[in-house]
């Protein structure tokens, strides 16, 4: 009896609270993005009397000579580039780190942990990027994301490689595969499930990143979507409908990722919960 009461009563209360606390704020974004400028300025949580949703979206996209569209392009290049490099290089390190007991391992393990914990020194990083001629370039930002994100990838890959039997490596070696072929032809394809996890988690992280873009790719013209959205705050104080249309647009890519890859995202982000 108590269980049934808990199941339905507790569940209903929890759903109600979750709707108020989590769903209502997101609905507010959608409603406000659908209002006219005059109506949006009241900041009310209400159904728009007149839906001008698509007009608002188009206005935001066209704003300042398609700035947001270019920003979306930059963010896409940044995300794809950084994540692709991270996955390949991280898998290589995680694989060798797990398979071979060399005297480098303690050092590499320490550096991986350091990369997870230590906050990056931003101004000296700018100094290095300037020396390389990569400051304020998309390539520079990609490289920075790779450097800061590798540690997380290596940890996940190392843990997963441990589940692949060594007999497989030996069979491939007997068949004459060299180290490069062994890794890219045999091991790498077997890492698929963890690769998907790493890709989605890091893609969401890189796409949502604001801090590194602010430091290493500042400005407005060549910026990422997070930066243009942030700059939009100061420009559109009076037109909340457009501001929220912008917020809605940058929320959509992570939402799509979440719908398709919920399991992998959850697996990646909670990894280590059981092992500690």
């Amino acid at each position: 009896m108590r269980n049934v009461a808990w199941k339905w009563g507790g569940g209903s209360v929890a759903i109600l609270v979750a709707i108020v606390i989590f769903i209502v704020p997101f609905t507010f974004i959608v409603f406000t993005a659908g209002k006219t400028q005059a109506e949006a300025s009241f900041l009310e949580f209400s159904w728009p009397t007149e839906w001008v949703f698509f007009e608002n979206i188009v206005t935001v996209l066209q704003n300042r000579d398609w700035l947001l569209v270019r920003a979306f392009f930059n963010s896409t290049v940044l995300t794809v580039g950084a994540v692709a490099i991270m996955v390949v290089l991280g898998a290589m390190v995680g694989y060798v780190l797990q398979r071979r007991k060399s005297r480098w391992n303690p050092l590499v393990n320490t550096l991986v942990l350091a990369g997870l914990i230590i906050p990056p020194a931003v101004v000296p990083t700018i100094w290095v990027l300037q020396g390389l001629g990569l400051f304020k370039t998309l390539i520079g930002l990609i490289a920075v994301h790779v450097a800061f994100g590798l540690s997380f990838c290596i940890l996940l890959f190392r843990a997963f490689v441990a589940t692949i039997p060594r007999e497989l490596d030996e069979a491939a070696i007997i068949d004459g595969a060299g180290p490069v072929k062994l890794f890219f032809r045999v091991i790498f394809p077997l890492l698929r499930s963890v690769i998907v996890t790493v890709i989605v988690v890091q893609a969401v992280f890189v796409f949502n990143d604001f801090t590194y873009a602010l430091y290493f790719l500042p400005g407005d013209e060549n910026a990422t979507v997070q930066l243009t959205t942030f700059n939009y705050i100061s420009q559109s104080v009076s037109s909340f409908n457009l501001l929220f249309a912008d917020v809605l647009l940058i929320t959509i890519p992570p939402l799509i990722m979440y719908i398709f890859f919920q399991r992998q995202i959850v697996a990646g982000m909670t990894s280590g919960a059981v092992k500690g």
Binding site: S102, V108, L111, V123, P124, P179, N208, F210, F230, I233
Partner: protein
Amino acid sequence: MTTATATGRTATGRTATSPPKPGRRKPMKSPYPTWFFIPAGVFYVVLFLVPTIASFYFSLTRWTLFDVEFIGFDNFIRFFQEPQLVTGFINTFIYAFLTSGAKVVFGLLFGVLLSSQIIGRGFLRATIFFPVLVSTIGVGILFKVLMDPFDGPINESLAVLGIEGPAWLTDPSIALLSVALVDIWKGVGLATLIYIAGMVAIPQEYYEAAKVDGAGAWNNFRHITLPLLRPATVTVVLLSLIGGLRSFDLIWAMTGGGPGFTSDVLASVIYKQYQAGFFGLSTAGNVVLFLVVAAIIFPLSWWLNRKEADQ
């Protein structure tokens, strides 16, 4: 990148040429070449390790765009003398410990709730986790509007209930706490999922055995669930502390460190000093942040993991 491929070629070249020499063949070259570390290492060393080490030198200088002048510990002395910078230093601790503590408590609460047999579990888990994935800037903009002291929906709703809502982000005494509240709102989903993963790993036999011994719900929680969730707690505490101590974007989007500098934290001080052109002072802030993070995280993780091994 180029050095990496070059080394790669020589390494494979050597393995290809060595077999013909009879007798000199040492144990076969490992199929797991160490040069696999090199490409990743180049990124890591050039863009993470070198700047981190360089920061210790630059923090001791007066550094502008044009020149570097060694001034000893002046930056650090200044850091702990100017009230504005000291506020940022103290706020970092308040913010990190508050958000971390709240995420542990609420994460555990929701984790236990969402592991029990209630309707709508899948919906609840998805709902609570989604804010984790939304851009921090988007969340910051959203709550800046929701928390508007006059027209904001939060205060208008409270007014309907007869409560006069505070001036969330414009009242100097609670601005930092308001941002921390939003940080908790955004991050509690991750803590919850970590706890759920921990709950799943607890064998049901323990509960069955406890049932035979006549244990109630509270005893189950106190003596089985809580101790066995320790690894999950360690993860939540460490993750949220590391994130909390470094956090910047939410604060920057919501208050910009204001009103005045009452909601500044180390990360926002670093950015402000950088913007003002005080690169040396900014880097000193970075070194302070580094030391704070290291001084908290390393002993804490050692202590938490040791206790775990003892049990």
